[in-house]
């Protein structure tokens, strides 16, 4: 159901007085899919301010906590049964009653239905939810999942909708005005323009939002978002780093997430090292580990961070590895400079040793340039990579393609390119490894290595935390020494705010869109 944009709304919009009520306006990139049915999106959780999952996050540490709908949870030893105890006083908006186990069961059905296109929904494949009592729900999983909480928090693959509303109004009800349970409730959607929320007075959790209305505006053009912020039309703007400088110069302030929300890397796609793989193209220059190392060493990461991230990012030692998750190895991080440090001489020596370019059937490195919402730096990144690689003596070409086009090639295992990738939110190690280093991932993509596969098989089945940690570390060690990818940076989510209206915003940057905890937006009176 779309709200028609008519002349009447236009007149009213123009006539409406600047409300006395305090409105926070956040201007951001449009989501990939505009719908109130979350499972019909790849995971842009635009409804985040109103709808909740079972598990929440600590805004400072990013750690899972019970700020969501569940007050506690337990799991069995082999990590196949997870039981959540719901908060008894949790209530849906608009009078749809308490949040119960039945709502969870109902929501799981919706999210795992045939029309679900959620990222990471494979983690819920085969999961069965069972209402033990009104406020207790048990998930039974076909395979152990140590990262099951990630489904409910961070990635947010399961968001709790009201069954009562569904029974009364069907999906139509969700389309019109979905009842959530957060401290802000759904007000309206202006298709193509944005989403509006309003404060819930006397919220069941006791949270008292410091403003009356939240408007999320979808504006595709970054320069326009900047203009809106500077003209006072928006209080908060999501801006590419390169234009943040202009905002800061005009007196705006950057508020980063408390935790890293995103990792970036360039992948050597097509490095299919498992024996007998028919998708392997033997002419890819980066099948030679010396070339992969040489490329890694051609890159001046500090300069790159200056260029792409305005200096506000950390060098990433291993893509998908993070101190918060399993298998983190300080040793690898320490060795990074020695093994990956910027060293053109070493790079050229490696190239010479490998016989580049003469011994290569196809010495040209195709670098993908693509636009991906949330990573506006990717096109510049491609150009910068070209600069670095050419400086070292590589032959390169830039290939432009949209992200969906890359997705198609990756699914077909035909993306024979050196292309950018991100890990956002920074996923638990098992998910990250599966996604980026294993043949078990979907799409099967860049780097597949028999040694990793062996470790991976065990890692996926293991329920022993120590063993898991060891296995993950082993995999990270292997990909590190194989120069499997070009790890680049670890970055925070950032918003730029107008300090006249916004005092601060504490958010951890751990969700798939980077932003959460809208109730923490601190407005100036």
């Amino acid at each position: 159901m779309l709200r028609a944009i008519t002349l009447t709304t236009l007149v009213f919009a123009a006539a409406a007085p600047a409300a006395l009520a305090q409105t926070v306006t956040m201007t951001m990139t449009p989501p990939a899919v505009e719908t109130n049915r979350y499972w019909n999106t790849p995971g842009d959780f635009a409804l985040g301010p109103a709808l909740q999952g079972l598990v929440g996050h600590n805004p400072e540490t990013g750690a899972f906590d019970n700020s969501g709908l569940a007050e506690s949870w337990t799991n069995n030893d082999d990590l196949t049964e997870w039981t959540f105890k719901l908060k008894p006083n949790a209530e849906f908006h608009f009078g749809y009653g308490p949040v119960t186990a039945a709502d969870v069961v109902h929501s799981l059905e919706l999210h795992t239905g045939p029309d679900s296109i959620l990222n990471g929904i494979s983690q819920l494949e085969g999961a069965v939810a069972e209402a033990i009592d009104d406020h207790t729900v048990k998930f039974t999983l076909p395979a152990p999942q140590v990262d099951f909480l990630f489904v409910h928090g961070g990635r947010g693959s399961l968001v709790i909708y009201s069954k009562a509303q569904f029974d009364a109004e069907g999906l139509e009800g969700y389309d019109t005005k979905p009842a959530g349970s957060g401290p802000l409730q759904y007000a309206s959607r202006d298709v193509g323009r944005g989403l509006n929320f309003e404060k819930v007075e006397g919220h069941w959790s006791g949270t008292d939002v410091g403003y009356d209305r939240l408007e999320l505006e979808f504006v595709a053009e970054p320069a326009t978002r900047l203009a809106r912020l500077l003209a006072g039309e928006a209080d908060i703007a999501v801006l590419p780093r390169e234009v943040q400088g202009d905002a800061i110069a005009a007196g705006m302030a950057v508020i980063p997430s408390t935790r890293a929300s995103n990792q970036t890397a360039m992948l050597f796609n097509g490095t299919f090292l498992q024996p007998g793989d028919e998708a392997l193209d033997k002419s890819l220059p980066w099948l030679d580990i010396r070339i992969r190392e040489a490329i890694n060493r051609s890159i001046d990461r500090n300069t790159m961070i200056d260029v792409l991230y305005d200096g506000r990012a950390e060098v990433l030692p291993v893509f998908a590895m993070d101190p918060r998750h399993e298998g983190y190895s300080q040793a690898l991080a320490d060795k990074f400079d020695a093994a990956y440090g910027f060293d053109l001489d070493k790079a050229r020596a490696l190239m010479a040793e490998a016989g580049y370019p003469d011994k290569f059937e196809n010495p040209v490195i195709p670098i993908l340039s693509s636009n991906l919402a949330g990573n506006p730096e990717f096109p510049t990144m491609a150009e910068l990579m070209q600069v670095f690689l050419e400086e070292a003596g590589f032959q390169t070409e830039i290939v432009e393609m949209d992200w969906a086009g890359l997705g198609g090639l990756r699914n077909a295992r035909a993306a024979k390119m050196f292309h950018p990738m991100r890990n956002m939110p920074v996923k638990p190690s098992a998910v990250g490894i599966r996604n980026y280093y294993s043949a078990a991932g979907r799409p099967r993509n860049n780097y597949e290595d028999p040694e990793v596969e062996v470790l991976m098989d065990e890692y996926m089945q293991s329920t022993d935390p120590d063993r898991r940690n060891e296995l993950a570390a082993g995999i990270f060690d292997r990909v590190f020494h194989q120069y499997a990818v070009v790890p680049l940076a670890s970055i925070s989510a950032e918003v730029v705010v107008n300090p006249k209206t916004i005092e601060g915003w504490l958010y951890p940057g751990v969700t798939s869109v980077g932003f959460s905890h809208f109730e923490n937006v601190d407005v100036n009176e």
């Binding site: 970054p222 320069a223 900047l226 590419p240 390169e242 234009v243 400088g245 202009d246 110069a249 001046d300 300069t303 200056d306 260029v307 340039s369 636009n371 096109p379 510049t380 491609a382 150009e383 910068l384 070209q386 600069v387 050419e390 830039i398 290939v399 432009e400 393609m401 949209d402 969906a404 086009g405």
Partner: protein, 280 residues
């Protein structure tokens, strides 16, 4: 005496601008550009132009990767020129050929060709370009294709209209009586009489094409990076329009000057060669 004071002398000026901004750079960019247009001086990123706090090293400043704007603009002229020439030549060739056929043969061929013209006009070219770009990715060829798609119809319509008149002319009738073949009549009698029209129309299309290239780049489907095509330079620099205005301003100026002088020249040519032509 005061007949057209505004235009007087301008052909010379515009031709000069065109040569300086477009032709010389396009032909001799390698010799006159102070830097390699692709060379990134990463230490000199976002340097302002000379007189705005910059140095003579980078007269028009540098972009976000520290590439010299002046050199990029000079090299970009190649692309502006080649897209214009290739695109317009092909577009004019297709349009003229079909326009000649339609106007000369009339009847069914005319109906079909003019319908195709209508259809090309009716299809939103930018959207088609976007759709095609998702298929094959942006490329030089795609830009050329879009250019041809956008402009051929104008040539076809105009050429057809004039051919319709010319085919009834006495000298064509005499040639026909003398036994000249259709092809010969078209080539020897009709085409020479519409060459002026084609030249004028083609000149006036240069502006359209340069702007179109910029628009395609804005939408991310122009000439692929890191090629320093003008449109791409403007589109790429638009985010930094406030602080690093020079990134988009100078290429924009190059576009402005080129289009301006080509249009002036086109107007002048039209007045000279083909006063009856009044299409934009």
């Amino acid at each position: 005496m005061r007949k057209r004071p505004f235009f007087d002398g301008l052909p010379v000026i515009s031709l000069t601008i065109l040569v300086v901004v477009l032709v010389i750079p396009a032909l001799f960019a390698d010799l006159i550009a102070p830097h390699d247009p692709y060379k990134a001086y990463l230490r000199n990123r976002l340097e302002p132009p000379l007189f705005f706090g910059g140095t003579t090293e980078f007269i028009l400043g540098t972009d976000r990767l520290g590439r010299d704007i002046l050199s990029r603009i000079l090299h970009g002229a190649k692309y502006a020129l080649s897209i214009s020439i290739v695109g317009i030549l092909l577009g004019a060739a297709v349009g003229t050929a079909l326009g000649l056929i339609a106007g000369y043969l009339r009847g069914m061929a005319d109906a079909v060709i003019m319908r195709v013209v209508d259809i090309t006009f009716a299809l939103p070219s930018i959207l088609l370009a976007l759709a095609l770009a998702t298929l094959s990715g942006p490329s030089f060829q795609l830009v050329i294709f879009v250019v041809i798609f956008v402009i051929w119809g104008y040539f076809a319509r105009q050429v057809r209209a004039e051919t319709l008149v010319l085919r009834e002319a006495d000298f064509v009738a005499r040639a026909r009586v003398a036994g000249a073949s259709d092809l010969r009549i078209l080539r020897k009698y009709i085409l020479p009489n519409i060459v002026n029209t084609i030249v004028v129309l083609a000149t006036l299309q240069v502006g359209v094409v340069v702007i179109l290239e910029a628009t395609l780049s804005f939408l991310g489907i122009g000439i692929p990076r890191p090629t320093p095509a003008w449109g791409l330079l403007v589109a790429d620099g638009r985010q930094l329009i406030v602080s690093s205005w020079w990134i988009s301003f100078f290429p924009g100026l190059a576009i402005l000057l080129t289009v301006l002088s080509v249009n002036l020249l086109g107007d002048w040519l039209r007045d000279r060669l083909d006063p009856k032509l009044r299409q934009v």
